[in-house]
Subunit: 101 residues, 2 copies
């Protein structure tokens, strides 16, 4: 399954030379939870994204984008109509943006 968010924070954490223990404590979670988030077994809650961004010194938008993309992929997992559906959805997103809905 897709795990762009988890992969990303893991890489960022390693680049920052931080241990899971150190990151986890700042986000008030235990390391097993962080491990699962990195591994894609659990998903971070939305509020935690900002915290991750802060600790890992990266733009929150970038993480949020990956986090959202993961959920999209999850919906589409194994669907042969995935591409079609995504295109329909994209149309609507664009339409809604136009309408400032």
């Amino acid at each position: 399954m897709s795990n762009q968010f988890g992969d990303k924070i893991k890489i960022l954490r390693e680049e920052s030379q931080l241990l899971q223990r150190q990151v986890a404590s700042q986000l008030d979670m235990d390391t097993s939870m962080l491990s699962k988030i990195e591994g894609g077994d659990r998903k971070a809650k939305k509020e935690q994204i900002t915290q991750f961004a802060k600790v890992l010194k990266v733009n929150a938008d970038e993480l949020l984008t990956l986090w959202l993309a993961d959920q999209l992929i999850e919906v589409l997992e194994g669907e042969y109509l995935a591409l079609k559906a995504i295109q329909v959805a994209e149309e609507e997103v664009k339409y809604n943006a136009r309408k400032k809905k």
Copy 2:
């Protein structure tokens, strides 16, 4: 909120001059549930899509596509990064398709 699936089956039902009662009974649900599905308050379960297609004499893929698109939109509801996320997801879908994953 987005409800392409519900809108579609409602239109198809009306074109077929069927009452909710008639469609609902064939799908083994009560009319209040069908009403909610048409109105986007509840979502049809995946297995029901085929049945809808049969009763409404329409291609199941078409309905499934709308149903999937609705779920994508739901994830993206209110997100200003929606478009970006959808593009990231689209890339991955295409990539996975290539890999015949």
